[in-house]
């Protein structure tokens, strides 16, 4: 008797409980809101991209322009003896937050290491106590971030460069558009990406949307990596090979973008740096992430942070700088990405 009675009652009770479910829209809104944060969390990609833009801008645009004009004398930059130096590269998102933080170590022998420091790393910020690494930038600007990274890694930071995300959009406009090719038409409300299939030239906001889209792609983030590679390769071709750069107006537009979106420390001799970059062996470029101890709830606010052991970080970075430790390279995010097709088109 009770068997027949209990089971239907359980069904009813569970269904009644389920009826109290929150409205899906609340979750959709939250997902949408946090999607931005998630994409910023995938920061190293953009930091490396930012580094490439700085390098491309400096090596591909500024130096040829200066040497062409012969306006600046001084040391023959191309022949400058490479010196070992550490450069902090910071990608800044649209809201003014340090989105991605990379310590670049350039060795005397043409080697380069890019060490990503997750922006949510829980660290000691000199003078401000413990917090997430990117809070340092918010609290005290680039100086505080430089001090924090210096303290954490034990590395002396010689120079810094910050690049605003918006630079990608504006660089593509200034470069007269960046040609890309899409295999499929896409339409994505999250990033605002809406493109037809086939070859097209992206400028401004459409370039940013192209780089930010992660939803609705067959391989999700992997496709985004491929897009970024294709985009940067195309942008680099534009910057270095385009006849548009012989046009003083276009050149000035580019330099303006670099001036306005890329900030470097006042004491940095970019000419000498560009000279060193020419000697950089790209096959010697290694990417790694500082060792982390897992995610954890930290601080009074129990914020979701990434745990790091300062002693481990220090010995890791020091090992890289001394060249004694082979970098336990993170599986290169780009390495596992499906290559763009023979036609040069991407998803």
């Amino acid at each position: 008797m009770s068997f027949d009675f209990t089971e239907p009652l359980i069904r009813e009770a569970v269904a009644a409980e389920a009826d109290r479910a929150p409205h899906p829209q609340a979750v959709l809104d939250e997902l949408h809101r946090r999607a931005g944060r998630v994409s910023r969390r995938r920061g190293p990609l953009f930091a490396v991209a930012a580094a490439v833009v700085v390098i491309a801008a400096v090596a591909g645009v500024i130096v040829p322009r200066l040497s062409h004009r012969g306006a600046t004398t001084g040391p023959a930059t191309g022949a400058a003896a490479p010196i070992s130096q550490n450069v902090l590269l910071v990608g800044v998102d649209d809201n003014g937050y340090a989105d991605s933080i990379v310590l670049a170590h350039l060795g005397e022998n043409g080697t380069g290491d890019l060490v990503s420091l997750p922006r949510d790393s829980w660290v000691d910020i000199p003078g401000s106590g413990e917090d997430k690494l990117n809070a340092a930038y918010r609290l005290g600007g680039i100086d505080k971030l430089v001090a924090t990274v210096g303290e954490l890694t034990g590395a002396h930071i010689d120079h810094y460069a910050t690049v605003e995300m918006a630079a990608f959009g504006r660089l593509s406009t200034a470069a007269g558009g960046v040609p890309v090719c899409l295999r499929w038409p896409v339409h994505d409300g999250f990033s605002g990406a809406s493109f037809p299939a086939g070859e097209q030239t992206l400028t401004g906001p459409s370039a940013l949307a192209f780089l930010r889209q992660r939803h609705g792609l067959p391989n999700g983030d992997l496709d985004r990596v491929v897009r970024l590679q294709a985009f940067l390769a195309s942008l680099a071709r534009r910057l270095t090979g385009s006849p548009a750069l012989n046009d003083p107006q276009a050149l000035n537009a580019l330099l303006t973008v670099v001036r306005e979106n890329v900030r470097v420390d006042p004491g940095w001799d970019l000419l000498a740096f560009a000279g060193q970059l020419h000697g950089l062996r790209t096959d010697q470029l290694r990417a790694a992430t500082i060792p982390i101890t897992g995610s954890a709830m930290r601080g009074p606010g129990r914020v979701d942070a990434i745990g790091v052991d300062p002693a481990q970080v220090r010995s890791f970075v020091q090992g890289l700088i001394a060249g004694t430790a082979p970098a336990p390279t993170t599986p290169p995010e780009t390495g596992s990405a499906p290559p763009s097709g023979k036609d040069g088109c991407v998803n």
Partner: protein, 167 residues
């Protein structure tokens, strides 16, 4: 193009929230759990989409997230107790006896051990097979049956007790 994450969310979110609410007996916690899980699903979507049963896999993630929700459990459990008392107290003022019985049952289900409740919700709300429930809970079909039979035992004992008191 293969089904994207957005389509998955559009199609499944409502059902997933209802499942999570039945599982947690707490709409707020259900929302938190589903949100957290979907953010993770989003990051790993290509892999999850390629699985045999993405939907079941996501159920499993939601269930695990709830079963390991220790951090906020203390505070939530007090709320859940209030809810239980509330539900238990309601039959007196509720005009319909059927409602009273159902709410009393809801309250009893709410205090079952979590795994037993998860198994119950999967069987009586999701109509999953024992094997599927086992996949979600990470145990054998036999263990699933034992969870359910224990839960039924508790609920039957409680309802006969209530029936006695009422009569």
């Amino acid at each position: 193009m293969p089904d994207g994450f957005d389509e998955f969310v559009t199609e499944r979110l409502d059902r997933l929230l209802r499942y999570a609410t039945a599982l947690t007996c707490d709409p707020h916690l259900a929302q938190d759990v589903v949100q957290e899980v979907l953010l993770r699903v989003q990051r790993r979507w290509p892999k999850i989409a390629s699985l045999r049963a993405p939907d079941l896999y996501v159920r499993r993630m939601v269930t695990n997230e709830y079963l390991s929700w220790r951090r906020r459990r203390a505070a939530r459990d007090i709320a859940s107790e209030h809810h239980t008392l509330d539900a238990l107290g309601r039959p007196a003022v509720d005009p319909a006896v059927a409602y009273a019985e159902r709410d009393a049952m809801r309250a009893r289900i709410a205090v079952l051990p979590r795994k037993q409740r998860a198994a119950l919700v999967l069987r009586y709300y999701e109509d999953r097979t024992d094997t599927e429930i086992g996949e979600v809970l990470g145990c054998s079909a036999g263990t699933v049956r034992s969870h359910i039979s224990r839960a039924l035992g508790t609920l039957r004992a409680a309802s006969s007790h209530v029936t006695e008191v009422l009569s």
